[in-house]
């Protein structure tokens, strides 16, 4: 199998650190960062299903994130739909959008697919910008509702009045997303998706209706992006069109690539490092993009498997040194032997 394995150590470590995070790093700002990381885990893992595992270079992910956010907010504010029901409806709406876009575009490949999905992404942003009577245009919408309390039988209700309450919701959703993606890529469906990425002609000749598989992967990935949007909007209390433009998709894609395409751990490591570090180090946005760009080039040249490959590379490096009977720290001597 390809690099699907999330590792026996990584998964429990993420769960333990994730659950204890509000105690380990108290304070509103740090908990907000934790929520952001969880949100990007959802976005990056779902994009990884489409681009990484299935190999479909679709760049409209932020638009579906936006359909989730705007869809739920507009349903609540304009039609008075209950908040949770509006969130569900927005996710289904994103799925329907993805189905239509997927059916129209997923017969295309490579740059053609990227251009068509980019066009949809821009169309979505332009609609949000210009349909002022509905979306309030570029000024965005201030959200004055929060997520309603979730009643838990025999336990106190889950009230969304504090940052930790939202953090645990995002952690739960991120965990569920990661588990779902892990199950998909380890299943028969995942094998077909990965076969399509490797050689779509062979996959078709092997008897798989590849177009249908690609559409399904696209719809599932896009609906997961909408989950992030529908739950994040009430938390952020504000949404605007530029939060869901092509730059956001590129940002999500960059996190996946730096973390590690076609790995379960890659989007997690990528989100942790690329979302939290620039905030913690207070790097200005312009410098941040420069740092991301340089990092991406270095990763692509030196570490094509992304950050999640570091552990594997280190193990390989140590094993090779041991085979040669060299100390791990030895430098040029090792090279002269080669």
């Amino acid at each position: 199998m390809t690099r699907n394995g999330f590792g026996l150590l990584q998964a429990p470590a993420f769960v333990v650190v994730g659950v204890l995070y509000p105690w380990l790093f108290p304070g509103d700002y740090l908990i907000h960062l934790g929520s952001l990381v969880c949100l990007y885990v959802i976005l990056t893992s779902s994009l990884n299903l489409i681009i990484g595992y299935t190999g479909q270079f679709a760049v409209a992910h932020a638009a579906f994130y936006g359909v989730g956010a705007y869809g739920s907010v507009l349903l609540v504010t304009r039609l008075g739909v209950p908040v949770w029901m509006a969130a569900m409806a927005a996710i289904v709406l994103a799925g329907l959008f993805a189905l239509v876009i997927g059916l129209l575009t997923l017969r295309l490949r490579g740059a053609y697919l990227a251009i068509c999905t980019f066009a949809f992404s821009e169309l979505f942003r332009l609609t949000l910008d210009n349909w002022v009577s509905l979306t309030n245009g570029a000024n965005g919408i201030i959200i004055r509702f929060t997520l309603p309390t979730i009643a838990l039988p025999g336990l106190p209700g889950w009230r969304f009045e504090s940052r930790p309450a939202y953090y645990y919701l995002f952690l739960l959703l991120a965990g569920a997303t990661v588990c779902l993606i892990q199950r998909i890529v380890s299943s028969d469906v995942g094998r077909v998706l990965q076969a399509i990425r490797q050689d779509e002609v062979l996959a078709r000749v092997a008897g798989f209706p590849t177009y249908r598989y690609k559409v399904v992967a696209f719809v599932v990935g896009s609906m997961l992006a909408a989950v992030a949007g529908a739950t994040y909007a009430p938390y952020l209390s504000y949404i605007a069109p530029d939060l869901f433009d092509i730059n956001e998709t590129i940002y999500i894609l960059m996190i996946v690539m730096i973390g590690g395409l076609r790995t379960i751990g890659g989007p997690l490591w990528g989100s942790i490092l690329l979302v939290s570090l620039p905030q913690l180090l207070d790097i200005k946005p312009v410098v941040r993009m420069l740092v991301y760009g340089v990092t991406l080039i270095i990763i692509m040249v030196r570490l094509p498997g992304g950050l999640s490959q570091i552990g594997q590379s280190l193990v390989g490096f140590v094993a090779r040194r041991r085979l040669r009977g060299l100390p791990v720290g030895a430098g040029s001597a090792g090279r002269s032997d080669a």
Binding site: V189, Q198, D199, V205, A206, G207, F208
Partner: protein, 247 residues
């Protein structure tokens, strides 16, 4: 078993296949030969659904298949290999066989997300196939790391692992670029699976292979069929000597 009736295919101003008709009998090995650019691989693509015919019809076991997609053709029982060996290089050797036997439909396949705990199990049949071609030891290695010859063997046995079982196998230059020992192995494999009930249609330039294996040979030149018959007769045909074999 396969009935090709007057098929035509053009690419721009070039007629790649022009009114070609032939039949393939069940359990036979039929050769399709001709010079480069004579339309052999295009004919395979038309049978396999990778290209659409612009005239004529193709029937397989009585059913018209020339308007079916490649996956539907495969599901009717036609498997094929390619001139440039095609495998899934990132999958392990075993997985290249496992994928051939799994359900095709998205929903049936999707059950394994929630219910099937061991979707990657190789199964006794695939184990036997790997044993047969001497790849058992390499079952967990990435298929892309195999040598060219081993990849050819893998592509061949992957066809035999296909579900539903393909009755007709199209082999596009199976002996190209492989060493003489492997040619012998592949010849043995083709005969073995013929004895097990498979039918073969083979594109091949090695005339010794064609003479040794095939009961019928079809010769194409510039998209047209110029001869058909037993190999010994075709070899003496003046038009075939002129267009392909040389004097």
């Amino acid at each position: 078993m396969l009935d090709v009736q007057g098929i035509r295919k053009r690419f721009g101003g070039i007629t790649a296949v022009d009114d070609v008709s032939f039949q393939v009998a069940p359990h036979s090995i039929t050769g399709l030969i001709g010079p480069n650019g004579s339309g052999k691989t295009v004919t395979f693509n038309l049978i396999g659904g990778l290209s659409r015919v612009e005239g004529g019809q193709i029937f397989f076991q009585g059913e018209r298949i020339d308007r079916l997609s490649p996956d539907a053709v495969t599901q009717r029982g036609i498997g094929r290999t390619f001139q440039n060996v095609k495998i899934f290089p990132d999958f392990s050797v075993a997985e290249n066989l496992v994928i051939m036997g799994q359900p095709r439909e998205v929903l049936r396949c999707g059950r394994s997300i929630f219910w099937n705990a061991r979707p990657g199990e190789i199964g006794a049949r695939n184990r036997d196939l790997l044993e047969l071609v001497g790849l058992s030891e390499k079952r967990d290695e990435p298929a892309g790391s195999l040598s060219y010859g081993q990849q050819k063997l893998l592509a061949f046995v992957a066809l035999m692992a296909l579900r539903p079982d393909p009755g007709l196998i199209l082999l596009d230059e199976p002996m190209a670029g492989v060493n003489p020992r492997l040619v012998t192995t592949l010849l043995g494999l083709i005969r073995l699976f013929q004895a097990r009930g498979k039918t073969f249609l083979i594109i091949e330039h090695d005339m010794r292979v064609i003479m040794e294996l095939c009961s019928t040979v079809i010769v194409l030149d510039q998209g047209r069929k110029i001869a058909e018959g037993p190999p010994t007769e075709v070899r003496r045909d003046e038009r075939v000597i002129e267009a392909y074999l040389g004097r």
